[in-house]
């Protein structure tokens, strides 16, 4: 049985940049535990000699020419931003 602790849930929430309330941590600990428990099913399978699949297409790297091209201008890039100043995205202070 996979154990996931409340502390682990809080750590993962920090990694995922989510602020969870105590109630949410409680609920998430139970639900993630259940899902991870279920995922233990995969351990029935011996996969020692199996290659992982990242996706199903036989793709080759395709490089385009490294040339500047018209895409989005600055005004457009900023127009859906929650906050901006002097032609740039504005964010709260990084340092306390």
């Amino acid at each position: 049985m996979a154990e996931i602790s409340k502390e682990q849930v809080k750590h993962v929430a920090h990694l995922a940049r989510l602020a969870l309330s105590e109630d949410e941590v409680e609920k998430m600990t139970k639900q993630l535990g259940d899902i991870i428990d279920y995922a233990e099913l995969l351990n029935e399978l011996d996969t020692d000699n199996v290659e992982p699949t990242t996706h199903t297409l036989d793709l080759k790297n395709v490089m385009r020419k490294d040339e500047p091209r018209k895409w989005i201008n600055k005004e457009d890039a900023l127009k859906n931003a929650p906050d901006q100043q002097a032609g740039q995205f504005r964010v709260p202070s990084i340092l306390e």
């Binding site: 993962v12 351990n43 029935e44 199903t56 929650p82 995205f89």
Partner: protein
Amino acid sequence: MSLFDYTLKELQEKLHNKEITVSDLVSDSYTRIRDVDDQVKAFLTLDEENAMEKAKQLDEQLGADASILYGVPLGVKDNIVTKGLRTTCASQFLDNFNDPLYDATVVQKLDEQNTVTIGKLNMDEFAMGSSNENSSYQKTRNPWNTDYVPGGSSGGSAAAVAAREVFFSLGSDTGGSIRQPAAFCGVVGLKPTYGLVSRFGLVAFASSLDQIGPITRTVEDNAHLLQAIVGHDQMDATSADIEIPNYSEALHQDVKGLKIAVPSEYLQEGVNQEVRESVLNALKVYEDMGATWEEVSLPHSKYAVAAYYLLSSSEASANLARFDGVRYGVRSENANNMLDMFKMSRSEGFGDEVKRRIMLGTFALSSGYYDAYYKKAQKVRTLIKNDFDKVFEDYDIIIGPTTPTPAFKIGEKIDDPLTMYANDILTIPVNLAGVPGMSIPCGFSSEGLPIGLQLIGKHFDEQTIFKAAHAFEKATDHHKKRPALGGDQ
């Protein structure tokens, strides 16, 4: 009978004979939406003024060489970006995303064929869900019985077509999100081969699985819509550069001698009796047309759901990192520093299911757990893909149910994530293998809810699916039934 009961071919005849105009089609669409969408709740955003204006222009420009999609009303799932038209992914995080900068490649391609975009369709938030109950705006309802879910995540896209609010629509399918709602709503939904349709402009959920596809009332129209959206796109690094066949030509080919594989795992326990009977009846129809079928095994099917949730959630946790409250979307007003701004914006903007999957994915990718969960799931994915490859060595097509049961009631499964996930058990393996799959109507339950037949083809062999689906449609009447909504009889 509404204009939306005709086929594309019939509509074009009427347009060219001047029996109808594009303006008639587009205003019919909005009239129908006004009549029934308070029951169905499929639409999040309408674009009536622009659509009517475009219709007028198209009426003036109609020429003899017009495309078969000319002037036809289209609905677009709300995770497909539309220039200048609000695109929310049914998430509060994108509540203010009113002015997207560009059209997705599929939208651009359809614009070149002169379809008319009517509006944006409801979905589970960021395409995570199987019932549309995870939309942060509204619960779309099943047009056949509004106490039931339409399926998900492309529930709005399937319900709007079934309800004749639009002629056809675009959805996206990561683990069944086109096929499952198509089955629940009694319409035709195709998830094309991974890589066949460009995802540029599709808000990414799980990039190794996501695919855009057409939802229509008939198989023939599905082929026409697919034809318009396929093709290599240099804006999508996973877009396949292959020769594109003519899908309509495949429609009328004979299914005599077609070798059908029926996975025993797809008819076992958990699959409802009425669904099983409908599928067996469908196989009988194929036998009568000269096809043969045999039971086969896809032995790793039972591992697909677990592998899928680990892989798709891992990819989602990376893809959804872009929602940080800096460049677009909603920013929390309660944060005093940058880190809190990220955390609080995301926590206020995302719903429960999205948070749950981001958490699961972050956990599966985190140091110490990566090999045990993420990499293990990737290896199991190989085994699942090999199952399909093996069957396709001896058979032309795989046929089974799309879902284990018909639509369930609103509220029935929402509190138990694992029960909800199990609903996708027959569609998920198809995404993991990257092969194409279609759902077509093959019957109705005793409660009058549609049942879907799933047809699965080889990589890039959509033609065989169209051939088999069209033959079945010609031999049966399931697709001709329509839900009773508003004043309909």
